[in-house]
Symmetry: C2
Subunit: 218 residues, 2 copies
């Protein structure tokens, strides 16, 4: 029962808008914890460092949430937004690649919060299989991916394997039925029908940062 009825379309949400809405939701959580009852779009804009009209436009994509002359009711907006964005329930995540990065992610608060929980790691290394990460996430053999995804009800797969193995691992995840893949390998994978891939290329992030550095004033 995940309030899927009469869900406003999430299409037509640009990457940037999605980003901001996610940030907005985080901010609303903080506001709620602070006991703030009501907030206006200029108020939110200041917190997030964006334009107030932008916030209203972003929200307009999803429905009407505010009260004219007043603003937004924090708890209400947070609840409705969370439901619409599908972040009001816990999604099961599995991670392929039980190397240092994979294990760090499996144990991190980032991936184990109100909306996500890592339930399994996968690796081809027989010495790791059968073990557990520091916080207790079990490591299974990659060959069991398909059965495990089904068994655990995993919706999202994280790729933390070397670039050579990325494509194969991604295909295995897609075929196992995950709906989204978060790819940490510095390689292009997919596309796969029915599975969304999002790349978080750490090498690329570091490179683009380096490129954007203002040349040293010599």
């Amino acid at each position: 029962m995940t309030s899927a009825a009469s869900r406003p379309r999430r299409e037509g949400l640009s990457e940037a808008a999605t980003h901001r809405l996610s940030l907005l939701l985080r901010s609303l959580g903080v506001l709620e914890a602070e006991g703030v009852d009501t907030i206006s779009s200029p108020g939110l804009a200041q917190r997030l460092g964006v334009n107030a009209a932008q916030i209203r436009k972003d929200l307009a994509h999803l429905g009407e949430f505010g009260v004219r002359g007043v603003g937004y009711h924090v708890a209400d907006l947070r609840a409705r937004l969370g439901a619409i964005l599908g972040l009001d329930r816990v999604r099961v995540v599995v991670i392929v690649g039980a190397g240092h990065l994979g294990q760090a992610l499996a144990d991190s608060k980032n991936f184990n919060g109100e909306s996500f929980r890592v339930d399994a790691l996968f690796d081809v290394d027989g010495r790791k299989v059968g073990g557990r990460s520091r916080t207790g996430v079990p490591i299974r053999h990659t060959g069991t991916l398909r059965a495990s995804v089904e068994e655990l009800g995993a919706e999202i797969g994280v790729l933390a394997v070397p670039p050579e193995s990325a494509e194969a691992a991604a295909r295995a995840l897609a075929e196992a039925g995950v709906r989204g893949i978060l790819n940490f390998a510095p390689a292009t994978v997919g596309p796969f029908a029915g599975t969304t891939v999002k790349n978080v290329d750490l090498t690329l992030s570091l490179e683009t940062l380096a490129i954007q550095l203002t040349p040293a004033a010599t």
Copy 2:
């Protein structure tokens, strides 16, 4: 001698363009390894999954690199592009936060390649200080950041600390003189004059992926 003379301006490069150029450079490396001598913009476009005109426009921001009727000379373009983007030399990176993520990054190939090398980790935990990561990166006390950055000639700082400590650690890095900060903490830091901050918010990445998932066809 880092070929800094007559460098075309890197201003006016959008975030997206920077991204694509970085990807292009990676692709050129692959092509060179494959022994490909020459490639056209449609050829590159197909590899990268973007429009051919886009590639020509991106390159046009930096100069003229091609030969009409022929295309681009792979090795030449790679060398010139690498020099212009400043990726033709090794930059020293330091990582603040020697937790699982920080250590995983310090040891990863992502951060130790042709353009980057992690030379130190920093932590406030006395039990970690003095130790080393698995591949031997030394862990120093965060108090020594300023002196260390200078000593090592570090240009880039990576933030892998809990969100509560992010702002303070970021300021320490900025004051220590790094030119760029790659922030993995789910928190806003800065801005700081003279230091570029790039956020790689893992929680946000996972959330935006989840949001973009096509709703399950029920």
